[in-house]
């Protein structure tokens, strides 16, 4: 990243702040939701990684976790919810169905949600283990830390 000492430090600090305060919105439609529940609750507990606050409104969320099969009928709903989220926002695609359509190669299912919305981290598995889930969150935090941060009063080139 280019920029002076102050810019890079500011970028680092904002990234550090953002990666440990991920308010997430669970968009859960199928059986991977069980893995989400066990990851969110006391056994694995992704609150340890600063991802604990579940918001049930997309407007307060930074991270949308798309967990489960997305059918063609549901695609406009998911797109609307993604568009309702405020910037900055990240997307986690959890499970084989969400990533690629999985075993449902048929008329009813969207073949991967990256056909509808951009995805930051893909979590494979049918369903993924909670460890995979946690690994994805750590990967996402790395990504947030190292990306160029956007904020309102930023001077743009």
């Amino acid at each position: 990243m280019s920029g002076g000492w102050f810019t890079t430090k500011l970028n680092y600090v904002i990234g550090w702040g953002r990666k440990f305060s991920l308010f997430h919105y669970p968009f859960i439609t199928a059986c991977c939701g069980m893995e989400y529940m066990s990851t969110a609750c006391a056994h694995w507990d992704f609150d340890r990684f600063g991802c604990g606050l579940t918001t049930f409104s997309p407007r307060q969320a930074d991270l949308i976790m798309v967990v489960g099969t997305i059918s063609q009928k549901e695609a406009p709903v998911l797109k609307t919810i993604y568009e309702q989220m405020c910037e900055p926002k990240w997307v986690l695609a959890v499970g084989a169905c969400t990533v690629s359509g999985g075993i449902y190669d048929n008329y009813a299912v969207v073949q991967g949600i990256d056909n509808i919305i951009p995805v930051d981290v893909y979590v494979p598995g049918c369903p993924p283990r909670p460890e995979t889930f946690l690994d994805a969150i750590v990967k996402l935090q790395e990504k947030i830390q190292n990306q160029e941060q956007e904020f309102r009063w930023k001077r743009r080139k």
């Binding site: 063609q72 009928k73 406009p76 797109k79 008329y107 009813a108 969207v110 056909n115 951009p118």
Partner: protein, 161 residues
């Protein structure tokens, strides 16, 4: 004396309407003419047989046959704990059958599903529109000639980077 099977009773009572009876693995099955469906169901619903419950109603696509579609009805008698299966073959060209919604309320959505997936029309159904697929969906996806990879998305798919 052993109790007489329901399929044999039906064969004796309606010899010209029943095409075939069978009981493979204890599943009593009658194959009947199309126009006799409602009459048979009314007969089976009443005492002493009392097949008062419609368990399921579905369709099978035998592509290539003259009578391409086969409707399958499963009835259950609560009083005698017995089941009977009714099969009706339908032609591709004249794809309609009597509705059972006046007899059983649960036939309403089951018939809408069959209409959605196979395109079978039900005469006398109060509200025959698609149940699962959305407005604007073309074709009937559970027919064997529906292309496997044909997609009809509601919103346009975005281009990947």
């Amino acid at each position: 004396m052993e109790k007489k099977k329901i399929t044999e009773i039906l064969k004796e009572k309606f010899p010209e309407k029943i095409k075939e009876i069978s009981s493979r693995f204890g599943d009593e099955t009658v194959a009947i003419e199309r126009d006799f469906l409602r009459g048979l169901c009314v007969f089976l619903m009443k005492e002493p047989y009392a097949y008062s419950m419609l368990l399921d109603l579905t369709c099978v696509d035998y592509m290539g046959d003259d009578l391409r579609f086969e409707m399958v009805y499963h009835l259950f008698s609560i009083s005698s704990n017995e089941r009977v299966r009714i099969k009706v073959r339908l032609s591709d060209k004249d794809l309609n059958i009597q509705s059972l919604t006046p007899l059983w309320k649960n036939a309403n959505w089951l018939e809408r599903e069959v209409y959605d997936m196979f395109g079978v029309r039900f005469e006398g159904h109060p509200y025959l529109v698609r149940l699962f697929m959305y407005d604007g969906f073309e074709g009937h996806p559970l027919r064997k000639d529906y292309p496997l990879r044909k997609r009809q998305p509601i919103i346009p798919m975005r281009k990947k980077e």
